[in-house]
Symmetry: C2
DNA sequence: TTCACACCATGCGAAAACGCATGGCATGGA
DNA sequence: TCCATGCCATGCGTTTTCGCATGGTGTGAA
């Protein structure tokens, strides 16, 4: 009784994907291959692992058991690949970086420019998303995150503290300045769907006009004059068509971190990128904070929260 | 960057075996296949995993790293296979049992006889060895062990307590009886290469004549009259050509346990075998102990010593 | 030195795995 | 009802992988 490891891998993919076609796409093989490998696996263990339904393959209890263990095997494989990557001291090959969409233009792009000039053999891939990609699964090598919790089991460096404030289109700003006691419309983010407390104290006539789930769209709405938006200072300052308004005085916002898995933290490509990234944020610190407070700009962070 | 899991498995086998041929034999494939898979793995990780030396393949540091993680993947595979086996409620297919060579004839053989009659579809394999096979790695499904420590992480049932005593050939026994003060030659086991303390007190002229590393050979030597041997009561009593001698009065010996991995403990075949094994030892208890002490004969044992 | 015996590299034909194309089947919307 | 869209099963030709056989090399014993 012995099972082909790739068949186990295929069972795992099929359990995750739910259909032959999707699993095949995930594995980069034809779906018939998935079907055949699953058949082999079932023959090997002597028990059906899936029910063939019209809507796709549904894992049996045994199939889930197999997938569970295969998933643990995959975790070990990922650990291995991270370790191998960590010892890689070459400045060539792929490097995957993830960062929030809106941070890339003003802050990351200049770094990317210099990096690809200095290290032309590195093929950089940017994954611009607010999703927290799983660095354990090697979905990215290095992440720039705006977060209170840069990531369990990850290693990180605080790039910058930042302040948030309120911004609006010049026309709206002028209208408000002309009638500060009038109604003030806010566009708020779904994760804090209220008018900021401080703003409500200063301008009791504030109200929520709309709730958005996407900051890019909020920027667009703000520029179109739909309302006042709370956002990080750097964003308001670097977005044309927005001016700061006094509804919300600058106040601490979420820090910016660069994080990576400890296994890959010291690899050549990740190190080289950090070596450009950190000075960039140090140089541009004025963009992020209000006033001249001399806060610390770097801090090593390590969590071992298993 | 993605690696074929079977290539990892092959790297592990090659690190363990040390040569293409040996690894191929272990995997059940031609050695050229091993060579090709290793080449693929090296191409995938971009680093050499082995040095090709005249005497075989020597793993590089990176190769060892790969093997280490592959070994952990293998451990998860074994866990899976055990779990699958544990849910197997059929009384057909393979069942591997290991027991000390000398216990098989007098005690296990009758059980095997009944078992294969009751369950003719089970193909039983006996691994008769004093080595402690690794039940985690599924080298056997069920083990009968004479041991103070039936096995970490295993589940067990104490089949029987037993006594040990001294035995010799009838001729030697007669000679000693005729001259109890004369020199008494012992054949001892390498793990306790001394004349038993109690025997030395009673017969100060005892001395070690030879040290053996194998109990079968010691039985042979004892029957040939080479000396007195300390052995379990059941062994002396069931071996023709030996008689008990008074040098060493019966005293506690190592217990006999039946153990299995918790994952497979309750599977149908293992349970069915235990159901015959336990009564057999209960019935034959008189063979193992001296006198009529009414000791407990069963005791569930569970260790979780990770 | 010479032979025997490990080991490994390479080339070729056989076998297995794979991708593609066709067809069947169920579901859901027009 | 009919069609469109997902699914999956099956058959066929191609690609890849594999096993075998040959040849080369270094080591140790006669």
């Amino acid at each position: 009784m012995d099972v082909d490891w790739d068949d186990l891998k295929t069972v795992l993919a099929l359990v995750r994907a739910g259909s032959l076609a999707a699993a095949g796409a995930a594995l980069g093989v034809n779906y018939t291959t998935v079907a055949r490998r699953v058949q082999r696996a079932e023959a090997a263990v002597g028990v059906p692992l899936f029910e063939r339904l019209a809507g796709g393959y549904q894992a049996t209890e045994t199939g889930l058991l197999v997938a569970e263990h295969a998933s643990e095997m995959e975790a070990r494989e990922n650990a291995l690949l991270r370790r191998l990557q960590g010892r890689d001291q070459t400045l060539s090959g792929p490097l995957v970086i993830t960062a929030p969409q809106l941070l890339i233009g003003p802050m990351i792009a200049p770094v990317l420019d210099r990096f690809s000039t200095l290290h032309p053999d590195v093929s950089v891939k940017i994954r611009a998303t607010n999703d927290l990609l799983n660095l354990n699964r090697r979905e990215a090598d290095l992440a720039i995150r705006i977060s209170r919790n840069p990531g369990d089991t990850l290693m990180g460096l605080r790039l910058c503290a930042q302040h948030g404030a309120s911004f609006a289109s010049p026309e709206l700003a002028a209208r408000i300045a002309a009638d500060p006691q009038g109604r003030i419309d806010w566009i708020v983010y779904e994760f804090s769907p209220q008018v900021p407390k401080k703003a409500l104290e200063l301008y009791p006539n504030s109200r929520v006009r709309m709730v958005f789930d996407d900051m890019v769209a909020m920027l667009g709405a703000a520029r179109a004059g739909l309302g006042v938006v709370r956002m990080p200072l750097f964003l308001g300052r670097t977005t044309p068509g927005l001016v700061q308004v006094p509804m919300l005085p600058p106040q601490p916002y979420i820090d910016i971190w660069v994080v990576a898995h400890p296994d890959v933290w010291r690899s050549a490509k990740v190190t080289a990128f950090r070596d450009l990234l950190v000075p960039q944020f140090r140089k541009m610190r004025h963009l992020f904070v209000s006033g001249t407070g001399s806060e610390e700009t770097e801090q090593v962070h390590r969590e071992t929260n298993a």
